[in-house]
């Protein structure tokens, strides 16, 4: 009897946790990975490259320039611990860029690249960022459009 009650409690807790997990997940759009890419836009629409450039250049929004260089000459102090974004659009398709932004750990578990559109398997997330991806689906699409335009 006691065991049954315990099991029921465990079950209830598991259901509650799953529900929480699902509700956190639900703020993310679902996507399909094909090979090493997410071929379809997260929003169903094409991003805006000009907005994407502004996101990449912004150190508290995209954060990209902390680690990457990019052909954004007005921004000094670009990092150099990750690949130069110049030519990214020649090296990768939009779908490949999208997966590398959304969750690069799908391709390399040890990558330093933050998961820009993932909420699970994160530890000690600061309260003001909890439950939020680094970029929204629309921002991801804007950055994809910008990076895809960097052909050289």
């Amino acid at each position: 009897m006691r065991i049954a009650l315990f099991l029921a409690a465990v079950f209830a807790a598991a259901v509650a946790l799953t529900a929480l997990g699902v509700s956190a997940q639900e703020s993310l759009r679902s996507y399909v990975i094909v090979g090493d890419a997410i071929p379809d836009s997260l929003t169903g629409e094409a991003g805006d490259a000009a907005r994407g450039r502004a996101i990449v250049a912004n150190r508290s929004v995209g954060l990209c320039l902390l680690c990457h260089r990019a052909p954004i000459p007005e921004e000094r102090f670009q990092g150099d611990l990750a690949p130069d974004l110049a030519g990214a659009g020649a090296r990768w398709s939009e779908g490949q860029l999208r997966l590398r932004l959304v969750d690069a750990s799908r391709l390399n578990a040890d990558t330093i690249m933050p998961p820009y559109y993932r909420l699970d398997h994160l530890q000690r997330v600061a309260r003001n960022f909890a439950g939020k991806p680094i970029l929204t689906a629309r921002q991801i699409e804007d950055v994809v459009a910008y990076l895809a335009s960097l052909k050289e």
Partner: protein, 256 residues
């Protein structure tokens, strides 16, 4: 022809031994070695190093009687007796069962011996006094105690150092082990050896503790910082001091 081959052989041996000597050389660099000559000069000159103002205040505190016991630090500790102390903390205090850092040790003296209220973390007095004590280890090698009870705490600190955290899902090791020397934004990533704490950080325009520095990194990773009195800080510091074992203390240091 034979002469040439002998010369080539000798050159090869020479280059190989040079390479071996390089490989055997300590690859660790302190934050001091990573800064420009202007800042190094500022740190080296006691009349220009802003941390020395805090040291002076700490020296005054050292002889000031405090608490219900009406005792000063100097009533128990002779002048210069703090030599090497900052270079070996965190350590487990007598009768204790877990390590405390230098600030924790100072507060134990306050509560147990002076019967006074502990200083607040990051309080002016705590920074002053720890700077005064740390200065007495300047030039000495970091020498954590060989206390086997520390191993478990140190291992936990290592796990914290290597564990991912925050919205950006980064570990300390991602930057300070794997990418030290490269540029994060405009700043050179240091190897994170705690040789100089408390440090006068130009970015802060103030003296600050290692805890404050660790908190900065956590906020940068968008992680929830440890609570002010969390033992996690001590464990991390234990790990860092062991990682920097043998490196030269340069406290109180100036950093960008």
């Amino acid at each position: 022809m034979r002469k040439l081959s002998v010369a080539l052989g000798l050159a090869t041996v020479f280059l190989a031994s040079l390479a071996m000597a390089q490989a055997g050389k300590d690859q660790r660099r302190s934050g001091y070695q990573d800064m420009g000559p202007t800042l190094q000069k500022m740190q080296d000159d006691d009349t220009a190093n802003p941390a020395m103002l805090y040291v002076q205040a700490g020296e005054a505190l050292w002889t000031q009687k405090a608490g219900a016991a009406d005792k000063s630090c100097a009533d128990c500790h002779s002048a210069g007796s703090m030599k090497g102390v900052a270079a070996r903390y965190p350590a487990i205090p007598p009768g204790g069962d877990r390590p405390v850092d230098l600030e924790g040790r100072i507060n134990l003296c306050r509560t147990e011996h002076q019967k006074a209220a502990p200083f607040g973390a990051e309080s002016e007095q705590m920074l002053d006094l720890s700077a005064y004590v740390a200065l007495q280890s300047r030039g000495m090698p970091i020498a954590p105690p060989n206390d086997p009870r520390l191993a478990a705490f140190r291992m936990h600190g290592g796990q914290l150092f290597k564990g991912r955290e925050g919205q950006l899902n980064l570990s300390c090791a991602n930057c300070h082990d794997d990418n030290a020397g490269k540029k994060l934004g405009g700043a050179t990533i240091p190897q994170a050896h705690p040789t100089g704490y408390p440090i006068y950080r130009l970015e802060w325009q103030a003296l600050g503790s290692l805890k404050r520095r660790l908190r900065n990194c956590m906020i940068g990773m968008r992680a929830e910082p440890f609570d002010e009195d969390s033992e996690d800080y001590i464990d991390l510091e234990l790990y860092l001091m062991d990682r920097a074992r043998g490196m030269t203390m340069d406290a109180p240091a100036v950093r960008p």
